[in-house]
């Protein structure tokens, strides 16, 4: 009973002298911090400090070599938004890229996952086949597709030969301003959508079968089941991937750089390829850092939208 009537320590001195408080503090506060400290220090060293340095560098004229970096305020940002036409074009391409990847692979993956979820035997084989492109290195994928899309020896040329046509399908998809960006998006999507499909399939398999049974009893057809059971069941995964794909769209680099390096004439230029060229070819590392900060701001903005939606009760 004495314990029940004992007063809680209020001042810091009382707390330190109190055995129970000390144990609780050790278990609930100190030990977790001790465990997380190495990771936290590593994070500060490899993420936080470089990020802060990057923000500072974006406000300098640093060339990327040596220590000479003059502070120029927001000049780099002003130039990016008001003077640099290529940045505006690259930003536009990033937005097109995002729209493409928020639609095409999602539709393909949802369709394939829905079909595969109903296969009882041999489903693993199909899943593996559709997933294989995802594990290929980007340089391998690009090499394969550059050959397949080659106007002289690719699929298009073979089709033209077979059908007796001339330059109907065998065109330089990566060499034309109007088709270059979408051709690269097609190649990247070829590699990517299988990954989405596997995620959606896993989410679909976690939906309790009784829900489908109940829907059937209520007279639902396949479409109704998909709309009222499957989609709500996998919604958190779909929305999370929406957020991730939107962020990744602003980081697009390797497929573009390996296939066209942003050409022809900047037709497939995106912010990341422009950033790379500024920092490493033009010796404008400060300017490149400003582009990097802008990419981060876009990513932050997308995350903020999703956080807001979650706070409003969306199941994300």
């Amino acid at each position: 009973m004495a314990v029940l009537t004992q007063q809680k320590p209020t001042t810091m001195i009382e707390k330190i002298n109190d055995e129970t408080w000390r144990r609780r503090f050790l278990r609930n506060v100190l030990v977790p911090w001790i465990f997380i400290a190495p990771l936290l220090l590593l994070h500060i060293y490899v993420v936080t400090i470089p990020a802060v340095q990057g923000i500072y560098m974006s406000m300098t004229d640093w060339k990327g070599v040596g220590q000479n970096a003059n502070f120029i305020g927001l000049d780099n940002y002003r130039e990016l938004f008001f003077e640099d036409e290529s940045f505006g074009k690259a930003l536009g391409n990033n937005i097109i890229w995002m729209i493409f990847f928020l639609t095409v692979p999602f539709i393909l993956a949802l369709f394939a996952a829905t079909m595969l979820s109903q296969i009882k035997r041999g489903g693993m084989l199909y899943r593996s086949i559709l997933f294989i492109p995802y594990v290929l290195a980007s340089v391998v994928t690009i090499t394969i597709w550059k050959n397949l899309l080659n106007p002289q020896r690719g699929i298009g040329a073979a089709l033209d030969n077979m059908l007796g046509l001339e330059d109907a399908f065998g065109i330089a998809y990566l060499g034309r301003s109007e088709t270059a960006l979408m051709s690269i998006a097609f190649i990247d999507n070829w590699h990517f959508w299988g990954f989405l499909m596997i995620l959606f399939l896993a989410a679909m398999q976690a939906i309790p079968p009784v829900l489908y049974d109940a829907a059937k009893i209520d007279g639902a057809n396949r479409w109704d089941e998909f709309r009222h059971v499957t989609l709500p069941g996998i919604r958190p995964v779909v929305l999370f991937m929406f957020m991730m794909v939107a962020i990744w769209s602003f980081l697009a680099f390797d497929y573009i750089f390996l296939s066209t390096q942003g050409g022809p004439g900047g037709a497939s230029e995106v912010i990341a390829t422009l950033l790379y060229k500024s920092a490493f070819f033009r010796f404008e590392a400060g300017y490149g850092a400003a582009m990097g900060v802008i990419i981060s701001i876009f990513a932050g903005f997308i995350i903020m939208i999703f956080v807001t939606l979650r706070r409003r009760g969306w199941d994300i």
Partner: protein, 431 residues
């Protein structure tokens, strides 16, 4: 007790001997791109280790060598010998104090005795020698001898002759130039630089590089317009869009197998040309790129440069390696064994006599042109970095019809003026 004594004696012996080895041998490090070039160059460079056993060269293969090197050097590390892709890159490193001025080594080791005067000048930054240029390059017009003989064609000397020949080549169902930039987008700048030199003339280019005339000068714009006209006519790889998708293999095979008649390419392409023509069984030869007035102009370029890291603990040893490496004997051996573009040094006639006469003729003509005011400038060697990137990136917008040749030239003038004012222009040999 006896065992302890023996151990003690061994320990003393090791301690006595160890410093001798450590102090006597100095290791000079060099980072080098992985691949077939290193396979051929490496063993020859390592022959340096037999010259003076107290200095040993260590070659460290690196992927993406230049970016790795500059990151390491900026961080206070990196190899003793710093190789860059060209004089304009040296400028930035010298300004940042990352590489050493080498004037004292040049004087004491007699670099001026074997380097051409203008070549040493290329390594000057604010009057001090910071780099030695390597891999002397130029662009020439390669052609397929059998294709020319079968059709009764002769290689053109002037742009007018080239125009007439191109019409015949197209009529024969062949591609005029086997070209494409899918493997290396900066290929574009080869043609821009070449047309400026061959159409407007090297003196005009020199004046523009010196800031005496703008890049919007009529003759320089005319050169870009002519290049665009040739591009639109499908001379380069069969069409503008095909040019953007043709890769290096296409470039070599189509010329070597006779589906293309000619190819304007650098002297660095000799090795590949020899290889592909060897496989096809046909014969290659070269002529100077046709010019407006028929004069044989050769644009001069450098493939890379070598400097000494400011953080090198033994710059003297690094300089000794450079002296050996750039000597005419070593350069001659690398030319004959690997078909490496030699450094701009006076290579002996005995070495040249061992070469394929076509290759020997190329370097002899280049040497003659540089001595007789018939040399021009390659963009990657003599233009500052931002202008250089602009030249090869934005010209695609001319070819895709987005901007005109004049708008392209105005954009270049604006950028070049900024870099000129900032003093970022690499050293240009005076004429």
């Amino acid at each position: 007790m006896k065992g302890i004594k023996i151990l003690f004696a061994i320990a003393v012996l090791i301690m006595a001997l160890a410093p001798v080895g450590a102090q006597d041998v100095t290791t000079v490090t060099m980072w080098f791109g992985e691949g077939s070039t290193l396979d051929c160059w490496g063993p020859i460079m390592l022959e340096f280790n037999d010259v003076d056993p107290s200095i040993q060269l260590e070659i460290v293969p690196q992927a993406d060598t230049w970016n790795v090197t500059r990151t390491a050097v900026a961080g206070g590390g990196g190899p003793d010998i710093v190789r860059t892709p060209g004089p304009s890159f040296v400028y930035e490193m010298a300004q940042a104090g990352l590489i050493l001025p080498m004037d004292s080594f040049s004087e004491s080791m007699g670099w001026g005795d074997f380097f051409f005067d203008w070549a040493l000048d290329l390594g000057l930054v604010d009057g001090q020698l910071y780099s030695l240029s390597d891999e002397l390059e130029t662009l020439v017009m390669y052609y397929n001898v059998e294709v020319f003989e079968e059709n009764g064609w002769t290689p053109p000397d002037t742009m007018d002759e080239l125009n007439a020949l191109a019409a015949e080549v197209e009529a024969a169902g062949l591609t005029v130039f086997s070209h494409g930039n899918a493997s290396w987008r900066p290929t574009n700048e080869h043609f821009v630089g070449e047309y400026w030199t061959q159409v407007a003339g090297p003196r005009k280019v020199y004046q523009a590089l010196s800031g005496e005339i703008p890049w919007t000068d009529e003759s320089l714009v005319e050169a870009i317009e002519l290049l665009d006209a040739h591009m639109q006519a499908g001379w380069y790889g069969g069409g503008v869009d095909l040019y953007f998708t043709n890769d290096g293999v296409y470039r070599r095979t189509s010329l070597a197998e006779g589906s293309a008649a000619m190819n304007i390419e650098g002297s660095w392409a000799i090795r590949g040309t020899v290889e592909y023509f060897g496989e096809s069984g046909m014969t290659w030869d070269w002529v100077p790129v046709p010019s407006h007035d028929g004069t044989d102009y050769y644009t001069i370029g450098m493939g890379n440069t070598s400097s000494i890291n400011a953080n090198s603990p033994h710059p003297e040893a690094a300089a000794q390696f450079l002296t050996w490496y750039f000597s005419p004997a070593t350069q001659g051996k690398m030319l004959t064994n690997c078909l490496k573009g030699p450094a701009p040094v006076a290579i002996g006639e005995d070495v040249m006599a061992e070469l394929d006469p076509r290759i020997a003729r190329l370097y002899a003509e280049l040497s003659d042109a540089s001595a007789n005011d018939r040399y021009g400038y390659t963009t990657w060697t003599f233009w500052p970095p931002k202008s250089d990137v602009y030249i090869y990136e934005e010209v695609e917008r001319v070819w895709t019809g987005e901007i005109t040749a004049m708008e392209y030239s105005e954009g270049l003038q604006e950028l070049f003026a900024e870099e000129l004012a900032a003093g970022d222009i690499p050293p240009i040999p005076t004429r």
